[in-house]
């Protein structure tokens, strides 16, 4: 995990990743399709960003079956929440500093 001096998290530099974290911050769990709709991205694009966030340990996956269809639900880990909050605080500080 790379963090700049300001606490701005490099992992959140991408729009998609930041969007995923924002959406998961206010929803207990979201499935792949819901995230896709909110972010308006392609399957492949979203999947690769989700992988990256999962690798960082910021989100986790919960796999289950609805009937016979596999259903993948994503949720934010405690570590992810901490990183996301730090990122928000850093943004706030940067804005205040530059006022």
């Amino acid at each position: 995990m790379k963090i700049t001096i300001n606490g701005i998290n490099k992992a959140f530099e991408s729009r998609v990743r930041l969007g995923v974290m924002s959406a998961l911050a206010v929803n207990d769990t979201l499935d792949f399709n819901a995230l896709k709709e909110f972010l308006d991205v392609t399957d492949g694009n979203l999947a690769s960003h989700l992988k990256a966030l999962e690798k960082e340990g910021f989100i986790s996956v919960e796999k289950s079956f609805v009937g016979r269809k596999p259903n993948t639900k994503y949720y934010m880990t405690q570590e992810g929440r901490k990183a996301f909050n730090n990122h928000l605080n850093a943004l706030e500080q940067l804005i205040n500093m530059q006022k």
Binding site: L18, A23, L91
Partner: protein, 204 residues
């Protein structure tokens, strides 16, 4: 530094995503106004044409032509109101570049359906037991409960509208003979007031 703008922009995006992913905000205020108009028309027909005038909770004579007429009328008003709401909300969603059927609208529907179906079944059972006077209070109370529930996943104002409907419903339990008036106030007038409020507050 030119970064400030970027950071502000980023915060705005985070906020917008949090809101969009947790609340269904394509609900149309006009839908409330239309629902109110249908309800007022329905109440008028119930009173004048169907002679729906229950004096007490158990009153078979309140519906001289049987409960079928009032039931049909109620379903017609419901279908019209829901149909208009779906249509107008779909248009609003399209304008906002969102899909009408997404994670938040699914949650809205689920939150709404549990109290509504419970109420619906209770009403059918009541009618079958000649508890015709229960029709007005039960529709108001269960609709109010479902609005209160839904306030968590769409405009917060719906919570207070829900409470108003519940209070009107409870009053109409006691004052059975004024049932239709309470019903017209709740489903008619309050819908129109809240519809206009939501339109001016959120849609301009």
């Amino acid at each position: 530094m030119s970064d400030t703008k970027d950071h502000l922009q980023e915060l705005t995006e985070i906020r917008s995503m949090m809101e969009r992913s947790s609340k269904f905000l394509s609900l149309s205020g006009w839908a409330g106004v239309f629902a109110g108009i249908y309800a007022l028309t329905g109440a008028y027909i119930a009173y004048q044409v169907l002679q729906f005038r229950p004096q007490q909770l158990m009153s078979a004579e309140a519906t001289p032509n049987g409960a079928g007429g009032i039931l049909l009328l109620g379903i017609a008003v419901l279908v019209l109101a829901v149909g208009t709401a779906v249509l107008l909300s779909a248009r609003k969603a399209q304008k906002r570049g969102e899909k009408i059927w997404n994670g938040t609208s699914r949650r809205l529907l689920l939150n709404m359906l549990v109290p509504l179906l419970t109420g619906g079944i209770l009403i059918l059972v009541s009618l079958s037991k000649s508890l015709t006077g229960m029709l007005v209070p039960l529709t108001l109370i269960f609709y109010g409960l479902s609005l209160f529930n839904v306030g968590a996943v769409t405009y917060r104002e719906l919570r207070s509208l829900g409470i108003v409907q519940i209070v009107l419903g409870l009053l109409s339990f006691y004052y059975v003979q004024y049932g239709l008036l309470f019903w017209a106030a709740g489903f008619g007038i309050m819908h129109i007031i809240y519809g206009i409020y939501i339109h001016y507050r959120h849609e301009r």
